[in-house]
Structure formats: structure tokens, C-alpha cells
């Protein structure tokens, strides 16, 4: 019954590591998930989009790091209170939706006089809002001094929702979008029903990798 030395040591090592792993099983087991990437439903009403947009601006969008609502005095970035009412004077002849979209997708193309450029493109990292999320943000911005009109099916210069430009079956998908633009994302994430809010993180994010 003599057990060779190597065997004994092996058993000792195996037993000790197994013991510690066992201790590890005794404590509470909590898997901490990263914050949910909200998959927006496609059937949000405009009113819901306004509240969602507000939440996005609070959290993921980090908008209020720089912007304010209803503050005056020395500001880093333009105050957003009543912004929808000022669109016509800033960009005459452009709809407010197009103006907001431009401000979010290409912030440097129009700088409000008196302010320095410095806003990142919101659809790209590090913020990386999805096109749907940006629609909600636009809805909220419209509600500041105006009436929100945008819906989840609204298309603008930078984005055409999948449902808005119906593509005949059999055709190559997504090529129907206006040329030179970002291809419309294939619908899965947007069309995912509300139930798809799973515990596991979504494998396919529309947003960028570096979402801070």
C-alpha cells in the first residue's frame, strides 16, 4: 500500500486546491452583470421616446457633463433649455430634426457662436449611442421649447430606419438606403421584442466598443 512520493504530493496539492475551491463555493454567488444595454422597442410612442431620451442623456449619453438645462452665466457648452425654439434662428430652412441630427452626428459642422468646438460625434465611441437612441434624444430635445414630432420610424440625413424604406424581398438588403450614407443597420436589435432584455449581455451591440 505504499503510495509513491509524487502521488502523495500530487494528492496533497489537489486536495488543498480543491478545498479552497470548495470554500469559494460556500460564499454567496453573485454574478455581476454590466449595466443593461437597453434594446429599444420599435413601437415606442413619441411621448415614451421623450422620457427615454431624457434617461439616455442622463446616463449613457453623458450629455450633462457639459450641457445644462436652464442655467445661464459662464457656460462651457450651450444651454439646452428651449433649444427647439432656437433652431429656426440658428439654421434657417432646416427642420429641427435635421438640425439636431447634424449636431449629434457631426457636431463640428455648426458651432454655436461664442462657444468652442469640443463635442464628440455621439454615434461613435466613447459615447456610441445607437441610431435609435439618438432618435429618442432628438425627441427629448424637441420637447424643450417645442413639440416632439419624431417617431422611431423617422428617417433623417444620417439614418434611415429599416421599416421606413421598405425593401422588396429578394433584393440585397440595406442597399436601398441613400447612397453615400451609412448602411441602415439590419433590424435584429431594434426589432427584438421587449422580452429579449436578457440577463446575459447582448452579443451584438450597435454601439461602439468604447462606451464610456
Amino acid at each position: 500500500m505504499a503510495v509513491p512520493l509524487i502521488g502523495r504530493i500530487g494528492v496533497l496539492i489537489l486536495a488543498s486546491t480543491a478545498f479552497y475551491a470548495y470554500v469559494g463555493q460556500l460564499v454567496p454567488q453573485n454574478e455581476v452583470q454590466p449595466p443593461q444595454e437597453t434594446v429599444l422597442r420599435t413601437d415606442l410612442t413619441t411621448a415614451e421616446m421623450v422620457t427615454t431620451g431624457r434617461q439616455i442623456m442622463d446616463a449613457k449619453g453623458l450629455c450633462f457633463t457639459c450641457h445644462t438645462i436652464g442655467r445661464s452665466g459662464a457656460l462651457r457648452f450651450p444651454d439646452l433649455a428651449g433649444i427647439a425654439g432656437r433652431v429656426s434662428e440658428r439654421a434657417p430652412g432646416v427642420t429641427d430634426i435635421e438640425y439636431f441630427a447634424q449636431s449629434l452626428y457631426e457636431p463640428d459642422s455648426f458651432i454655436v457662436p461664442g462657444f468652442n468646438p469640443g463635442m464628440p460625434a455621439i454615434n461613435r465611441p466613447p459615447i456610441g449611442l445607437t441610431d435609435q437612441e439618438i432618435l429618442c434624444v432628438i425627441a427629448y430635445l424637441q420637447s424643450l421649447g417645442g413639440t416632439p414630432t419624431v417617431t422611431m420610424q423617422t428617417s433623417h440625413k444620417y439614418y434611415t430606419p429599416a421599416g421606413a424604406a421598405p425593401v422588396a424581398p429578394g433584393e440585397a438588403p440595406a442597399n436601398g438606403a441613400a447612397p453615400g450614407q451609412k448602411a441602415a443597420p439590419v433590424a435584429p436589435a431594434a426589432a427584438a421584442p421587449a422580452k429579449s432584455a436578457q440577463l446575459k449581455p447582448q452579443a451584438a451591440h450597435l454601439g461602439g466598443a468604447f462606451t464610456s
Binding site: M1, A2, R8, Q36, A197, L199
Partner: protein, 556 residues
């Protein structure tokens, strides 16, 4: 059992001392302590008591708008729980006792952490609010509280008769479920609505649940409330008989709250027409209800304090029997989990309750039932809801206990008791409750003697909602609405999540695991013994041969 006996003995001894003390105290003015004691009491009072009873002792503290019954107004000199006659001041010891023990199921807590001296000082300070205490004329005289004869079936029977004869039924109801005809109209002297005690829930008695406590309450009455003193009206034996009857109404071991409903399998198909009979085999689970004080539209003191649930299931469906006590069956009006509560109603607390403003004069609950003392029909009907998650939760995460949340919704089985059939709702948060037309749930409801019995039935696997599987735990939560207290929507009594366990028809045998464990251990033992023996043999061999260094036994 022994502690009970000791407690009883102590109470008796205390009563005896009181009786002796009474004789001595008769000539003295009330015991209001020294200046220093009252000053010390004042400091404590300001810190611990004034938020409810008010800095002036007038019962108008910060908490007053939101609590029911209202905090005692010390300036009135009227105290509920005493050993003195009707209308008389309490003794110092009475005050000490109530501070120490508190009043169950009200916002008056017990203060076990305070020292004897601190409680005593507080009691002394309280006497400063009413001039009566310094009046030698008003010196409290404890009444005679004779010791208890044993409770017998006969005495209970006598008590039952006396209970009916002496008008107790008017408020407390035939079976003591606080459903008397005038129960809803009661007010205290200050004009605040007040609810009669539910005599089947002795654990909620304000003055304590022991037989001595009940006897004392009946003898002294509750000053300032419609509860009169029977000291003069009934001889002690009769009071004891009623006490025995009242004590027999409740399970003396307290509410026995649990956290689990065990659903028993039944052979015969469940027949709703048979009602509660079918549930005879299922154990009763009682859950505490609390006011919905988490979401706006709060209900701080709902009338229902607990609910009992039983569950059975057959091959196709599961049925739940939910029972709770309600002072009146409100079968008129409407109710729904999504009815809005105007913000101003919450701010006023319970004030606009069913108590009609018309009866300004103090209603005499013992007058013959007239139109005046009957509360008008409620605007809202009674209702009950059973809540399950829409999907069986995989881990710890359940939907939010108040009608779910946006990520995980709940399946509400809602029974508006003004209707004949239950409804189903999907809850995604208290502000987002939508009707679910699945029509899976059927049910019947009945009301008798202050108790609602509601049966819900649903197929084990239905078109909506989570499936019920034997051997599985399912979270369950309940809500109850009392229409006469204007409860609807978020304003209600509710429970947190508990569990419903579907007991499998055949419990897996323990034999397999037992044999496996025994064999493993047996094998280990044999291995150890074999190893020890072989080691010893080889050691012996080595010693004979005289080689090999001596090894300590079992050293390595």
C-alpha cells in the same frame, strides 16, 4: 410553557400587590413624580415621543397625519389601557406598562431598550400635560381585577351567549371579525375614525392578548373610544366568561406567519362550486399584509393586516383559496389595480375615509341600528389580487414586488368583488398595469361574517403566465383592497414576495441517496483500516529486519 406560567404568576402577583397598594393609595394624590424626574422625562420625551404625540402632548406631532389610530392626546387625560375605572386617569404603573409594551399593530412601538428609570420618568412627564393629574380628587383608583378562573368549554359557551346579549356584536361582529353593523361608523371623542378590534386576531389587541389583558380591557373600557367599561354592567364571572369566549376566537399562539404556501395535489378534479371544502387537505399559510407605502398613492394603515392562503392542484389546474377579514362586503362601485390616486388624498392620510361627515354627534354604538349609524355604500368595491412573475425566475431576480417592473412583468389575478369573475392584468410597474385578455383565470368569491373567501383557478399551463410544475417554487404576492376605506389602485394592503410550493404527488424515495452515502463512507472506512493495517505490517517487517529508520506512527 414555563415562561408563560411564570409570566402568569408574575401578573397575578402584580395584581395582588396592586390590590394591596390600592388601599394605601386611596388617600394620596396621583403619583406624578418629582420635578427632577419629570425634567429627565421631558428630555427623553422630546427626543423619542414628541414626533407623534407633539411637543405639547396634544397628539399633533409630525407623524400624526399619516398614522391611525391617531397618537394619544395627553392633554385630554384620557387613556385607553388602564387598570382604573371608566373615565379615570391611569396609574403610574399603567403608563409605564404601555410605554414598555407598546400597542401592537399601531405606530406606538414597544420600548424594550429603555431602563426602568427612563420609562418611569417618561410616565411622570406625561402627567404634566393634563391638569387632572395634579388634582387630588382625580387620583386613580385601580379597580378590582379578580384572578382568572380556568377556561372551560362551558364558560366559553356562556361567554358566547353573553357576548351576543351585551351588544358586542354591534361593533365586533357575530364571529368577532370586527364586522358589526356599526363598525364602520365608529369615531373616538376627537372625531377621528376608529376601528373595532378584530377579536379573532388576538395578536393585534392594543392592550395585550393574554386573558388577563382582555379581562382588564373589558372591565375598564377604552377611555375616549366607543369601547365601554363593563365593570358595572356585568359581574366578574360573566366578564371572565366573555373573556374566555374572546380568547377562544383566536389561535393563542399568535398569527403564525409563514413564508410558504404548500399546494397539495388532489385526485378529484377541482370543482369551484364546492368552494372551500376542496381545500380541507391543504395547510393554511398566513401572511402579514402591510400598507403600500412604497409607491405614490400610499396607504399607511389598511384595514386588512393579514391574509390566509391555501392551495391545491389537480391534473389540469391549480386553485388558490384566499381569505381575509373585511369590516363590510363592498360589492358596489368598481375597483382596478390601475385606478389613480389624486396626490391630495395621500397628503391627508386616512381622513376622507368612509366615515360619513353627517354624524357629527357621537354615535352611540349601542343604540338600535338606525339609518344614521350605517355607513353609506362605498364608492369603490373590495378587491383582491394574487401576483406571480410572468416567467419562473431563474435566480434571485424577481419582478419588483409592487406590480413588477419594466424588465420583468407580473401576472395579476385580480378579483373585483363587485363582479362575478376574476380578471387578469399584466403589471410592468405600479404605473403600468394593463388588462390581459387571456381569460385563463376563473374564480368564485363569497363573504360571510366579516370574511371574504375567494377562490382562483387557472390551468397549470395556460396561454399566459408562468407554468406551474410540481416540485417547483413559485414566487407569490398578494394585495387586498378595502372599498370602504377608499382603497383602489396603489392604495391597498399588500405582501412582499412569498413562495408557493407545488408538493409533488409522489415524494422521491430517500433510499437511493441513503444507500449511496452509506456505501461511500463504508468504502472509505475499509480503505483507512486496510491502509493502517498494511502499514503496521510493513513496519513490523522492517523492525524484524532491523532496517529502515523508525517512523512515527501515522506520521505522514
Amino acid at each position: 410553557m414555563t415562561t408563560r406560567q411564570i409570566a402568569r404568576g408574575l401578573t397575578l402577583a402584580w395584581l395582588a400587590v396592586l390590590c394591596v397598594g390600592t388601599g394605601l393609595a386611596r388617600a394620596q394624590s396621583p403619583d406624578i413624580g418629582t420635578e427632577a424626574q419629570r425634567e429627565a422625562g421631558k428630555v427623553l420625551y422630546m427626543k423619542l415621543c414628541s414626533q407623534c404625540h407633539g411637543e405639547k402632548g396634544d397628539g399633533a406631532g409630525y407623524a400624526t397625519p399619516n398614522v391611525l389610530p391617531k397618537p394619544r392626546d395627553f392633554t385630554s387625560g384620557k387613556f385607553k389601557v388602564r387598570t382604573t375605572g371608566s373615565g379615570a386617569l391611569p396609574t403610574h404603573q399603567d403608563l409605564v406598562n404601555i410605554i414598555r409594551k407598546g400597542m401592537p399593530y399601531t405606530s406606538m412601538p414597544s420600548w424594550p431598550g429603555l431602563s426602568e428609570e427612563e420609562v418611569s420618568n417618561l410616565a411622570y412627564f406625561i402627567t404634566t400635560f393634563s391638569a387632572d393629574f395634579s388634582n387630588p380628587e382625580a387620583a386613580p383608583k385601580p379597580i378590582d381585577l379578580p384572578s382568572a378562573p380556568a377556561s372551560t368549554p362551558e364558560s366559553i359557551e356562556t361567554g358566547k351567549k353573553l357576548y351576543e346579549e351585551n351588544g358586542c356584536i354591534k361593533c365586533h361582529g357575530t364571529l368577532g371579525r370586527a364586522d358589526g353593523p356599526s363598525a364602520l361608523t365608529l369615531k373616538d371623542e376627537a372625531g377621528n375614525p376608529i376601528r373595532p378590534a378584530n377579536l379573532t386576531h388576538s395578536w393585534t389587541f392594543r392592550g395585550g392578548s393574554s386573558r388577563e389583558d382582555i379581562f382588564r380591557t373589558m372591565s375598564t373600557g377604552f377611555n375616549g373610544t366607543p369601547m365601554p367599561s363593563y365593570l358595572e354592567a356585568l359581574p366578574p364571572e360573566q366578564r371572565w366568561a366573555i373573556t374566555d369566549f374572546i380568547a377562544s376566537l383566536s389561535d393563542t399562539n399568535g398569527p403564525g406567519y409563514t413564508n410558504l404556501i404548500v399546494a397539495r395535489p388532489v385526485q378529484d378534479p377541482i370543482d369551484l362550486a364546492k368552494g372551500a371544502e376542496s381545500f380541507a387537505s391543504a395547510p393554511v399559510a398566513r401572511f402579514p399584509l402591510l400598507g403600500q407605502i412604497t409607491e405614490p398613492g400610499r396607504s399607511f394603515h389598511p384595514p386588512a393586516t393579514s391574509v390566509t392562503v391555501q392551495a391545491i392542484y389537480d391534473a389540469e389546474s391549480i386553485a388558490l383559496l384566499v381569505k381575509w377579514h373585511d369590516m363590510r362586503a363592498d360589492k358596489t362601485g368598481k375597483n382596478s389595480p390601475s385606478l389613480p390616486i389624486p396626490p391630495e388624498e395621500e397628503a391627508g392620510g386616512e381622513a376622507p375615509s368612509a366615515a360619513p361627515a353627517a354624524s357629527e354627534t357621537e354615535a352611540d354604538p349601542f343604540a338600535d341600528t338606525t339609518e344614521d349609524t350605517v355607513a353609506p355604500p362605498a364608492e369603490f368595491s373590495d378587491a383582491v389580487a394574487v401576483q406571480f412573475p410572468v416567467a419562473v425566475p431563474a435566480g434571485a431576480r424577481k419582478p419588483y414586488f409592487i406590480f413588477g417592473d419594466s424588465q420583468s412583468s407580473v401576472d395579476l389575478w385580480f378579483f373585483d368583488l363587485a363582479r362575478n369573475e376574476p380578471l387578469q392584468f399584466i403589471g410592468r410597474g405600479s404605473g403600468d398595469v394593463a388588462v390581459n385578455d387571456a381569460g385563463d383565470v376563473t374564480g368564485v368569491a363569497s363573504y360571510s361574517d366579516g370574511e371574504w373567501s375567494v377562490i382562483f383557478r387557472r390551468p397549470l399551463r395556460a396561454s399566459s403566465g408562468a407554468p406551474f410544475t410540481p416540485g417547483q417554487f413559485m414566487p407569490i404576492a398578494l394585495s387586498a383592497w378595502d372599498g370602504s376605506a377608499r382603497e383602489r389602485g396603489n392604495k391597498r394592503a399588500l405582501s412582499v414576495w412569498y413562495s408557493l410550493y407545488m408538493e409533488p404527488e409522489t415524494v422521491p424515495s430517500a433510499a437511493g441517496p441513503m444507500i449511496r452515502t452509506a456505501l461511500i463512507i463504508f468504502g472509505l472506512e475499509l480503505a483507512i483500516i486496510g491502509w493502517v493495517r498494511s502499514r503496521l505490517r510493513s513496519q513490523a517487517r522492517n523492525e524484524i529486519r532491523g532496517e529502515g529508520r523508525p517512523q512515527p506512527a501515522m506520521g505522514s
